[in-house]
Symmetry: D3
Subunit: 172 residues, 6 copies
């Protein structure tokens, strides 16, 4: 099944569950496109980090794991609720791919309606590695650092991400 897989997520933030999924796909495909969705959003409890910050997190992990020659990172804006345009935008923003990997039901539905082969990804300890939970832990001062790659933990602290999340959660 060697080809180029598409791995879609928002990666808010990129955590060890994501890395596990990425490696699982890399066992099956020669290369992987990491598509960072909702590219334009940031500074909300649901989407705290900018696209650039998410690219940086993933890049640092790829370097550390020596995966830069097999992974292409691409940001994809969402279409502001106009779902019928999403696959079209996605395809025009991405290099060619063989099949998509996602557990998100709407993405899967839209991709399948447009003729793309879609596969699920086995969850890796989902009760622990889950972005919503990790954002809350960061905001509340919980034990989040072990849930992300050391390079990501470092970077989040470097840009004042903990403070930002704490403030954003007070808002919502």
């Amino acid at each position: 099944m060697a080809g180029r897989g598409l791995y879609i997520g928002r990666f808010q933030p990129f955590h060890l569950g994501h890395l596990h999924a990425l490696k699982w796909i890399l066992d099956r495909e020669e290369e992987v496109i990491i598509a960072i969705g909702s590219a334009q959003y940031s500074h909300s409890p649901y989407n705290p980090f900018t696209l650039g910050e998410r690219v940086e997190m993933i890049w640092r992990v790829l370097k550390d794991e020596e995966l830069t020659d097999r992974c292409i990172i691409v940001g994809v804006p969402d279409t502001n609720g106009i779902h019928s345009l999403w696959t079209s935008l996605l395809k025009s923003f991405l290099p060619t791919f063989t099949r998509a990997y996602t557990n998100d039901p709407l993405s899967a539905l839209l991709l399948r309606e447009s003729g793309v082969e879609v596969k699920g990804i086995p969850f890796f300890k989902r009760e622990i590695y889950e972005a919503t939970r990790i954002r809350r832990l960061i905001a509340e001062g919980g034990a989040w650092e072990e849930l992300v790659h050391p390079r990501v933990a470092e970077y989040i602290k470097e840009i004042g991400g903990v403070e930002r999340l704490r403030k954003l959660f007070k808002l919502s």
Copy 2:
């Protein structure tokens, strides 16, 4: 001057002049962000290729030249004439960078007004390696293949790019 350089262009298409510039920057910086501007446009004589197609071209060259571990490709939409938002969008879409390299006067003006250090890039045989000229050569059946990397020439032919440019030029 080791840091992370930002190299901005539309890369319609990515040609040997671009590759030359990229290597020149890589001599000066540890890493380079290749920012592909006007990400959302395609299928016009000025912007024939989609973002995804431009990412693919550059990726194939980076693989061939063994540069994937030093170059981060990112697409950046333009702001539809609202220039005062462009640097802000750029910064939010890009990982951190130390300085920018561009010969485009508007990009340079906007980046400098927002506090970014901007450097020019020595042109490499500009009368030959120039994207406007290369697009015309492709459309008119001229000798364009030697002006791009072999991986790019291959890819443009693979996706029917010659035919597309020929049709787009009949339009304009």
Copy 3:
């Protein structure tokens, strides 16, 4: 009171309550514009069908009921929360009309502020013929087919609409 009535709705989907209302307006006006609102949205539990799919549903019913020479179908995008532009957009997208028929309080408020005569429509067994309820019935495998015109039931099944709604409701 012969003129051209404007009948506004989202028609997600077009059901027998809508058809009843349409006929009630056709008793009062020579012609009716059927304005399909929120034209750009689809693939959500609240707006499952594309504009094209809604046009198709209504068109098949109009053909069956021999009403194509008295009804003009027009899609109207919503203005993304910028309500002060909505009547303006509506008027520029629609042919001339004499008065509007709607039970939606915001539409009525905006139309009246812009000088349009607005009339309510008597509800027809609203507890039964109500789009929110019908969408849920489709998603949950309930008895929805008798609540829409046979042409609409046929069409929804033809395009895999039952399956789509089932998946969209799992999402939300």
Copy 4:
């Protein structure tokens, strides 16, 4: 070749050349979707009439020619230069169709790339029935009325269209 044809145009204004083309398609297809492009634009020399005004023109002609039961009128906004989204938007705004009829090279290119069968339409006295020429004739007080259907001529005068075009042409 009986099916549903798609006839795409801007119809600024709908003239006898358009009507001729429509009838030619109706000889080949059971039904025709008349897709009015650049739906959102008006009040410029290139796009003088609103979508609603163009729908009205076409509707009056269809009534007069007793074609309302074979023609579906739909407005389609353009995607503001983002051509890779256009076919996707088009398909989501339109009911199902079998094949497209257009002489516009960009529309043909985009539709073919997305897998749609595209056919050309024989021009009908193009040196006479051409929208650019007709707009200029209206603006300059030339003999335009015989170039459109009597219902269209009537309507353009009814809404002050001659005066509008005269003013718009002074602008440009």
Copy 5:
């Protein structure tokens, strides 16, 4: 600390708490820019008044209080959830300012990240002078008039604002 302060709010509607805050800032700064946020929204329970109506309210109060030579009113659209562009848009829409005054945590976070000095404003009887509460009182026929400046009360009644709020609240 004489300079030009920036006072940011939505002013839905401009009430005596706002006027109190404005005067408090005017004690500290030579001039104040009154930035009216979410400029494009109106006709919802949360944002009932148009930008123009809010400018009118504030202008009438400034005239009455003889403050027109120290206050510059500017409307600023919001960026539709794309928070990383907001300070950039704000700065391009506003004349120069020395520091910002706001109690809104997201505005403060974004302004501080972009290098602006931000100060809080002491609340003035917040349990009474609070816009959410005042909108509800207007809608429900409560005692709202004494909570706004007489010029504002007059104006809201003049434009049918009470009736509008009553209808909008029935909606939500």
Copy 6:
């Protein structure tokens, strides 16, 4: 004819011809709304200054001329070519006005179609006080300072406007 006049322009930059026109309107109306159009654009040869910079120019002149209690400055974005929405946007962004003053034929056409009374403004030495000419003079180092109010000349130099125009003109 005492009321509130609307004076529309782009004011790129605000020059003595504009000030002359403003005073001419102030002779006829109690108050004037100065509507700054194309609010979102800047950094192009046609629209060099941001909205904020134009507000600042006009504000400094109004202060100097002691006109702040009779003039309301409001920025109005343009509608990106969707002219049918422009008057609607304008009305929602502006406080009430009695009549409009403009020499721009498209603005006049659109305002009149929406029922607004429009008056022309006598040109004041147009061959000298014309914004296009003044922008060119600034860019080319000509004698522009005497064509604007001293406060405006000062401010343009203060923000590096001469340098910006010089660079922008090299672009185009």
